[in-house]
Amino acid sequence: MSEKVILAGLGGQGMMLLGRLIAQALMLEGKNVTFYPSYGTEVRGGTAYYHLTVSEEEIFSPVIEEADTLIMMNLPSYLKFKGFLKPDSMLFLNSSMIDKIENEMNIDVYRIPATKIANNIGNVVASNMVMLGAYNEVKNLVSIPVFLSCLKNVLKGRKEPFYEVNKLAIERGAEFVRKY
Amino acid sequence: MEAIYKTPKTLIDTPTHYCPGCGHGIVQRLIAEIIDEMDIRGKTIGLAPVGCAVLAYNYLDIDMCEAAHGRPPSVATGIKRVHPEKIVFSYQGDGDLAAIGTAEIIHTANRGENITVIFVNNAVYGMTNGQMAPTTLINQKTLTTPHGRSEKNDGYPLRVCEILSVIDGSRFIARTSITSPKNIIKTKQLLEKGFKTQIQEKGFSLIEILSPCPVYWRMSSVESLKFIDKEMSTTFPLGIFKDWESRN
C-alpha cells in the first residue's frame, strides 16, 4: 500500500490538522508516513499545502511529484495543484467553494459540500473533518475510532469542547459519500 | 599598620603587565580584597574581557573565563544559569561594554540577570593602542580622533549608568572613580554593594569606575587623576543611579 496525498486550502481551513490526523492514524496502524507542510511566509494569507506520503515501505522524498489523491478546499488550491494529477488519481473537492472544473483526464472526482455540511452542524471550521470522513470512507484507510482517538488527543485541553462537532463532521462526510 | 599592605590571598603575586599609573591593577586588587573579606573565593567565577584586562586571570586566583570582545554579559548569563548559587561577575572595558557589547549589556540588565558587572571606563581603547572609545570625551585626542572627538563626526560620550538605570531589570547602578584614597575606599564599598546585591539575589548590578590610562591619554599619572576629577567626572558624574535599598 502506498498513498501520496496533497492537501491544500486557505490558511485557517484546518488542512494542517487534517493531514496530521491522517498521518498519525496511519502511523498507529504501523505504516511509514512523512508529512511535509508548507511553512513561513507562503502560508500567510495564501494557500497552505501539505504533502502526505504513506507507505508500507521506506519513504524517500517527502515531496510529491505525482499525487494519488488531491484534497482541495478552495479554487486557488485546485488550480495550483491540478498539474500533480495522473489518470488514476482521485480528487476530493470542497464543492461549497469550488463549483466547476474541467476534468480533462476524466479522473474520479468527489464533490463534497464540506463548508455547507459543516455549517449545517453548527461549525464552519469543521469542514476539514467532513473531508476527512469522506476521504476515509472512499479509501477505507482506518477505522473511525482510530481517527477519533487521535482527534481526542489533538484537541486535549483548551479545544476539548470542539471534539463532538468534529466527530459529527467526520460522520457526516462519510455518510455523504456513502450515498454518492 | 602591617595588615593594610598585605597582599590579598586571592591576588596572585606576579609581575603586572599593566602600565605604570593604570587603573586596572587597583580595581583588580580591590576585587581580590573583597573576595577575601567576604570569604567567597571558592564560589566566585569571573569573566575576563578582551581589552587590557584580558589577563585578569593572571592576577585573580579564582575560576575564570575569557569571553569574546563584548560578550562577557552573555557568557556570565550562561554560567550563572548553570550555577545560580555561585557569584558571577564580569569585568569589562568601555570598548567591550559600551561599543561592541552594547546589546549584550542592555539585555542582560533588562533580564535582571543576577550578576555583577565591573565596568572600567578609561575613555580609550587601551589594548589596541589608544583609539577612540564610546566614552571618549568631546575634544579628547586619540589615535582615531587626532583633532579631538567631534560631536559632528563621532557623536557623544555614552553614559552607561544613566542608560542602564532606566532599565527595569537593573537593581544597583553606580559610578565611582579611583583618583584618591577616599575615592578608592568609596569604590570598594560600591563593589561590595554590587556583590551583596547578587548574594541577596536582588538582580543586576553594575559599578562603573572612571580609571586612568596615562599612556594613551599622553599624561603623567598625576595629570591623569586630575583629568578624571576635572574633566571626566563632568561628563560622567559620580554617584548612585539606582539602588534597590533606597526608594527612588
Binding site: 511553512y39 511566509t41 524517500f60 | 571558592g42 569571553a67 569574546a68 552573555s74 548553570v82
Partner: protein, 364 residues
C-alpha cells in the same frame, strides 16, 4: 508533549524531534533567537525546559545565544543553540571561541537558501561554513548530517556524547525540509550526560586549584603548542568517528555521493531499482567532518565515475574531488536558491554521464 515514553512512536517535525532529543540527552540550557525554518525548536524548548527544570532564554541576538552556550558549557552543563543561515553566520565568532577554549556544545543549523537573507526553503549551501571552519583560526567542528526525522533525534544524542568526549563543538547540519517535515520518531537512545568527567569546568575553586577557560595564548610558542594539541585531537576524530551509509556500491559503475535531503532523493530511485542501463550506488556521508574520504577513495579506484548531488552550487564536491584525486571523473549536479533536485533530473544527469562515457570508449 510533556514527557516521552520509550519505544512509543511520536509524529513530530524534524525540529521538534531535535529539541526533544536534546532534552532527552540531558541538555538543560538552550538559548535561541527566532528564524524560520527552525522556530519549532524554540517553541518546543520554551514548553519543555521549564518542565524538566531547565533554562530556555529567547535572547536578543544569535551572538548572545552562542555566548550563553559558551558560558553554560564552561560551567560544565550540556547546552545547545539552533538557528539558520543568517543566524549561524553571527554565531561563527562564538563557535571559533568554543573550539579554541575546547568547550563541548551542540549547534543546530536548519539550512535555508542564501546568500544574504536568501529565502526559507531547503538548502545545503552552508556546507563550506560548517566543515571548513566558518569562524577564524585552525579549528574544526564535528558536523553530523541527518537524513530523516528519526536520524535527527538519534544524531542529537550522539552529538552531545561526541562533544563531551572530545571537548569540541558539534554541529547538526540539517535543512528546512528535514526540519519542517513530520515523521514517526522514537526516543530510544540513552542519556549519558555524566559519561565524561568535566573536572575542567568552572564551578568555583572551592578546595581545588582554580580552573581557567581561555583561548588567548600571548606568550610566544604557546599558541603553536596549543594548535598542535588541537590538531592531534582532530586526527583522532578523523580516525575514529567517520560515519556513512552505503548502498549497492560493490558492483556499481557509478557511485553517487550525497547527504541529507539529497541522499533521500537519490534513494528514491536506487531502492526502487529504476531501469537504468548502469549500476548505480550511493555513499551518504553522515559525518561531513570528519569526511568519509577513505571509502570514496576506495570506490574511485574501480568505478567509472562519481556523481555528487547537492542543494548548492558545488561545495561537498570539492571534498569528494580531494578524496578521489583524479582516480576517476567526478561529476556534479546541484540546485541552488531553494531548488531541490528531483529523481528525474538526477537520472538524466546519470544518463548524460553514461552517454559521454560510451562516446569516449567508441572513439578510442
Amino acid at each position: 508533549m510533556t514527557s516521552t515514553e520509550k519505544n512509543k512512536k511520536y509524529l513530530l517535525t524534524g525540529n521538534e524531534a531535535c529539541a526533544e532529543a536534546a532534552i532527552q540527552a540531558g541538555c538543560r540550557f538552550y538559548y535561541g533567537y527566532p528564524i524560520t525554518p527552525q522556530n519549532e525548536i524554540l517553541t518546543h524548548m520554551a514548553i519543555r525546559m521549564p518542565q524538566v527544570g531547565g533554562t530556555f532564554i529567547q535572547v536578543e541576538s544569535e551572538l548572545a545565544a552562542i555566548n550563553m552556550v559558551y558560558g553554560s558549557a564552561a560551567a560544565g552543563a550540556r547546552t545547545m543553540t539552533s538557528s539558520s543561515g543568517p543566524g549561524i553566520s553571527l554565531k561563527q565568532e562564538g563557535i571559533s571561541y568554543l573550539a579554541g577554549s575546547e568547550l563541548p556544545c551542540v549547534i543546530v543549523n536548519i539550512q535555508r537558501g542564501g546568500p544574504g537573507l536568501g529565502d526559507i526553503s531547503p538548502s545545503q549551501a552552508d556546507y563550506f561554513q560548517a566543515v571548513k571552519g566558518g569562524g577564524h583560526g585552525d579549528y574544526h567542528t564535528i558536523v553530523l548530517a541527518p537524513g530523516s526525522v528519526q536520524e535527527t533525534a538519534d544524531l542529537v544524542f550522539d552529538a552531545f556524547d561526541l562533544a563531551d568526549c572530545y571537548r569540541n563543538p558539534v554541529m547538526i547540519l540539517s535543512d528546512a525540509q528535514l526540519g519542517q517535515m513530520m515523521e514517526p520518531v522514537v526516543f530510544n537512545k540513552k542519556c549519558k550526560p555524566n559519561l565524561y568527567k568535566k573536572d575542567w569546568a568552572l564551578t568555583g575553586a572551592d578546595g581545588r586549584k582554580r580552573n581557567i577557560i581561555k583561548s588567548f595564548y600571548p606568550v610566544k610558542g604557546e599558541l603553536e603548542k596549543f594548535n598542535a594539541k588541537l590538531q592531534k585531537k582532530y586526527r583522532q576524530i578523523k580516525a575514529e568517528e567517520v560515519r556513512y551509509e552505503e548502498i549497492n556500491i560493490e558492483n556499481a559503475d557509478i557511485v553517487i555521493v550525497a547527504y541529507g535531503t539529497c541522499a533521500r532523493i537519490c534513494k528514491e530511485f536506487l531502492k526502487k531499482g529504476q531501469s537504468l542501463n548502469v549500476k548505480v550506488g550511493l555513499i551518504r556521508p553522515i559525518t561531513l567532518w570528519p569526511f568519509p574520504a577513505d571509502i570514496i577513495q576506495k570506490v574511485s579506484e574501480r568505478v567509472q565515475a562519481i556523481l555528487t548531488v547537492e542543494m548548492s552550487a558545488g561545495q561537498m564536491v570539492e571534498d569528494v574531488r580531494l578524496s578521489v584525486s583524479g582516480r576517476c571523473p567526478v561529476h556534479f549536479y546541484g540546485r541552488t536558491g531553494g531548488g531541490i533536485p528531483t529523481p528525474k533530473e538526477i537520472l538524466k544527469k546519470i544518463s548524460e554521464i553514461v552517454s559521454v562515457r560510451e562516446k569516449v570508449t567508441c572513439t578510442t
